[in-house]
Amino acid sequence: MMKEIIGLQQQTDIIQARKIGREMAKTLGFGSADQTRLATAISEITRNAIQYGRGGHCAISGYSDRNERKISISVEDRGPGIPDIDKAMEDGYTTGHGLGAGLPGARRLMHEFHIESGSGGTKVVMGMKQKNF
């Protein structure tokens, strides 16, 4: 079991988070396409936490056993929360002059994706797994 926690305050923390994610995925034996997908999803969700959630932190954990390898990302912030999650998950919905592709895109990039949001902040948990043979 591996675990890393990265504080999210500024732009460079995003780069740090996805670098750590990519490296862990590589160590666990994920291929380069999966590494890129993971890094991109981390990039989207951590940037949201900084841009809309006033920062927070990102926990990356992973393991590999006889059956499977898995990497999980949990990004939490203490921002104002997302008033309408269904809407935020729609393609093209943005309140920040973005493309509105971050949340729905990250969901498609990963195998698991959960989002919770309230007035106390937002939490996104996502995972990518693969069978070990």
Binding site: Q11, I15, R18, S32, A33, Q35, T36, R37, A39, T40, S43, E44, R47, D91, G98, L99, A101, G102, P104, G105, R108, L109
Partner: protein, 289 residues
């Protein structure tokens, strides 16, 4: 009658050679790497001597120890001088602060000897001088941060310029190979340099190669689209090359529409396209009969 302030000033003045020596001894011990390797000994002595002199004047001034006004200006400019040498030499902020604060211990040893029979005055003077040195320390820290920030800005600017070259590939064709992380600052820089490159080279076609960009997320995609729009407004066609299979997959998952851009897999294919758009053709060399 000599005031306490004058007494203190006198102690420093009379013992200035010894104080300076003790202080130098102390800072040499404080530093991890040999100080004098980074700052020549003679320069260090001279600056420290000047600093001690100006601090003595500051200490002799009536008032609440505010470092301000005409008389303090020389002190401030000397500090800036001393600190900037340290910042440029990669001294850490704590090493820099220690240089100033270590003077306290040294001075107070001399105060203790001279005010041995007047503990009340000793305490008062130690407090007063201490607060002056604290202020100088804080000012030094501000100067240090300001200068370091400057240095970092300078360096990152240099890196940015290095990593965003606009290359003239042929008459009317410019090439923009992107390497590394594209953030908002860099994309701004990228657009500016590209537009300048288009104008300077009267470019009809721009080939942007992204094979050196590790992650294309929505932000990077947006920056790329802006770049393309800007280039198009100047009448250039843009060809995007170097999209790896991995990146192509993520772009599809993100559902970003790069349809507005002409894309080619390899840089070679992109250049061929560019030639074609300019009415040129690459052909095998014909042997002269």
């Amino acid at each position: 009658m000599e005031t306490d302030r004058e007494k203190t000033e006198n102690i420093i003045y009379k013992n200035r050679k010894a104080i300076l020596d003790d202080w130098m001894e102390k800072i040499k011990k404080l530093s991890v790497s040999p100080f004098t390797e980074r700052i020549p000994e003679a320069q260090l002595m001279k600056q420290s001597y000047d600093l001690l002199e100006m601090l003595r004047q500051e200490i002799s001034k009536p008032g609440n120890g505010e470092i301000a006004g005409k008389e303090s200006e020389k002190l401030l400019s000397l500090l800036r001088n001393i600190i900037s040498i340290r910042a440029e030499q990669n001294f850490s902020s704590s090493e820099t602060a220690a240089y100033i604060f270590s003077l306290k211990d040294v001075l107070f040893r001399y105060f203790r000897d001279s005010f041995a029979d007047a503990p009340g005055i000793l305490q008062q003077e130690v407090m007063r001088v201490s607060s002056i040195i604290d202020r100088v320390g804080i000012i030094s820290f501000d100067i240090y941060s300001e200068i370091r920030e400057d240095i970092i800005n300078r360096q990152s600017k240099a890196i940015m310029e290095l990593s965003t070259p606009v290359i003239k590939a042929w008459d009317g064709i410019v090439l923009l190979p992107l390497v590394g992380i594209i953030d908002t600052v860099r994309s701004q820089e990228m657009i500016e340099r590209l537009l300048q490159g288009i104008v300077d080279n009267e470019a009809r076609v721009v080939v942007i190669d992204i094979s050196g960009v590790p992650v294309i997320d929505t932000k990077v995609a947006q920056h790329l689209m802006k770049t393309v729009t800007a280039a198009t407004m100047l009448g250039s066609e843009v060809i995007l090359t170097g999209i790896s299979p991995e990146i192509a997959q993520t772009i599809i998952k993100l559902d970003i529409d790069l349809g507005v851009m002409r894309t080619r897999g390899s840089l070679k294919a992109g250049i061929e396209d560019a030639f074609q758009l300019c009415g040129l053709k690459i052909m095998p060399k014909k042997e002269n009969a």
